[in-house]
Amino acid sequence: MSVDADTVRRIGRLARIRITEDEVASYEGELNAILGFVEQLDEVNVEGVEPMTSVTPMVLRRREDKVTDGGYADRIVANAPISEDNFFMVPKVVE
């Protein structure tokens, strides 16, 4: 499988990365080089093999469903480029 210019543009939109027109061709080449490299996985017989979900044989731990942390909204927004009254500020989303 390989990607064409339109696919590069589409992936850029899905990834929320603006790809300029003069970048499309070079991304197309680079992505195809990587996809060409991973293509060799098609030779492997994976019939009946379980996909790995956890590298260590463990069950995810559970804990009691209670609040154990929080109550410091000012620290949460402390690194925001723009915030107001402990809210993150973004361009208007809903008219």
Binding site: T7, I17, L31, V38, Q40, V49, P51, T56, M58, N79
Partner: protein, 494 residues
């Protein structure tokens, strides 16, 4: 007075405990070394000299009161990937401009608990994506080692290039690092230092900027095997804030260092004998096996049949996880923000400007392999191959192998801006060919200096262990370190 920066971490710690010198003197010596050399090496992206001196004074007070921790007063460098409260934490990326966390990573908190002193934050490949430290927003790190016949600048490897360079050039007594596909072991091999990636789950990932969560592990880079054991001891341990942290006791790693290899079986995987492997790497490998045999180990040929598929499977799994992890960098919560006409515009422009080329490439690959219609063909298949890779190792260990010896890298350090690597991303990826299998299987792996190439540049060997058996790796790596008896002091030019 002796140059305190030239002492091993162990000797420094013991000298501090014996009050031969103070923690403040040790910190001042390192700060002076950084001020003198960092312009040329570019290993640190932030130096926290004032904070280091305050921490050192507190260490001196604890030593005076007889309350010294296991790393009391030892000055360390911290990879820029670890969240350090109120201090530069940007994963060497433009998109995290100005980010100063409100919290401390578990790994660094463990080090401070044991008395270590932070000198500053170390350069790295952006978001730990790279094998040469050239993808950093802060520019490449330079390897303190140079070939005997020229003065060409070499890469320190990556992604923990700042960590490796700083340790090799005596700009810290030891450094934290992280390893997703080889990012501790490859730079350690390129700089004549020791680096261990412990078993997945040994060190908490909490507060470490995530790249590929099922592969990422923290570990130390240090100047000796014993130093790396002392550091890993402190960094390790169960943490309920990381759901993949494993609740097992941390053994006394330093006690295992001199244990020897008598009676151990060392596996030699046929598949690591790659076509076109340089003769000096082949020789190094054979020599390593001879050293282990001379100390009483048995060498056994083994097969890990899915080895060649580890790297291609990695380049599906890692970018897929990265594309998901890096979705949080949106120009809203922290770091860089590029204004746009609406929210989508804001996201797209911020991420286009904030991420470097290699990061964008990987996020895009990850987005593609996870997208509708391709998920099964790429991602699920890669995770199945990963199961097979892990099974290969399990078969070897079940057949009586205690540890596996391989080369750490296919070559010694290469030049900055290597043209071959620049034109083909896959060429750069091949640096991790011997190390990436270990991450895919969640195993511990250590890189230890074992020889030098024709140019006098260090070369490393890698030992791979059973899950949670880092102790055997320390013991076997120590035998190689002792047998090689290398002069690992690069000629100072910086």
């Amino acid at each position: 007075m002796t140059d305190l920066t030239r002492l091993s971490l162990k000797a420094l710690r013991d000298g501090l405990a014996a009050k031969e010198f103070t923690a403040l003197e040790a910190t001042d010596a390192y700060v002076a070394a950084i001020e003198a050399g960092n312009d040329k090496l570019n290993a640190y992206v932030a130096v926290t000299a004032d904070q280091a001196r305050e921490m050192a004074k507190a260490s001196d007070a604890r030593i005076a009161k007889g309350e010294a921790g296991t790393l009391e007063g030892v000055p360390l460098g911290i990879k820029d990937l670890f969240a350090t409260k109120g201090v530069h934490t940007q994963a060497a990326s433009h998109i995290l401009d100005g980010f100063k966390p409100e919290y401390e990573s578990t790994v660094t908190a463990n080090l401070w608990r044991d008395g270590a002193v932070m000198l500053g934050k170390l350069n790295m490949d952006e978001f730990a994506m790279g094998s040469s430290n050239e993808t950093s927003y802060y520019g490449p790190v330079i390897n303190p080692w140079r070939g005997e016949s020229d003065n060409k600048d070499l890469v320190p490897g990556g992604s923990s290039g700042g960590s490796a360079s700083a340790v090799a050039a005596w700009l810290c007594a030891g450094a934290t690092a992280t390893d997703t596909g080889g990012s501790i072991r490859q730079p350690a091999a390129f700089t004549g230092t020791v680096g261990i990636k412990p078993t997945y789950g040994r060190c908490s990932r909490w507060g470490t900027v995530a790249f590929a969560s099922s592969l990422d592990q923290a570990g130390p880079i240090a100047r000796t095997v014993e130093d790396s054991a002392l550091m890993l001891q402190s960094m390790s341990g169960f943490d309920e804030k990381d759901s993949t942290s494993v609740d097992v006791a941390v053994p006394d790693f330093a006690a295992a260092v001199e244990r020897g290899v008598k009676g151990l079986t060392i596996g030699v995987p046929a598949e690591y004998r790659m076509d076109g492997m340089p003769e000096e790497i082949e020789k190094l490998w054979t020599q390593g096996l001879e050293w282990l045999k001379a100390e009483g180990a048995t060498v056994k040929d083994i097969s890990l049949p899915h080895t060649k598929y580890a790297l291609p499977a990695y380049y599906i799994v890692a970018p897929a996880e990265a594309s998901s992890n890096l979705a949080r960098y949106d120009g809203v919560k922290y770091g860089l923000r590029v204004s746009g006409k609406d929210i989508t515009d804001l996201y797209e422009l911020t991420r286009a400007e904030g991420f470097g080329r290699e990061v964008k490439r990987r996020v895009m690959i990850g987005t593609y392999v996870l997208s509708a219609g391709y998920y099964d063909a790429y991602y699920v298949r890669a995770q199945k191959v990963r199961t097979l890779i892990k099974r290969d190792f399990e078969d070897a260990f079940n057949a009586g192998v205690d540890a596996i010896l391989t080369p750490a890298t296919p070559s010694a350090a290469f030049g900055i801006a290597d043209q071959d690597m620049a034109t083909d991303p896959v060429k750069m990826y091949l640096n991790d060919i011997f190390t990436v299998t270990v991450n895919m299987a969640g195993l511990p792996g250590i890189a230890v200096p074992a020889g030098k190439d024709g140019q006098g540049l260090p070369l490393g060997l890698q030992l791979i262990g059973k899950p949670f058996d880092e102790e055997t790796l320390f013991a076997a790596a120590r035998v190689i370190e002792k047998s090689a008896a290398l002069d690992l002091a690069p000629a100072k030019w910086w």
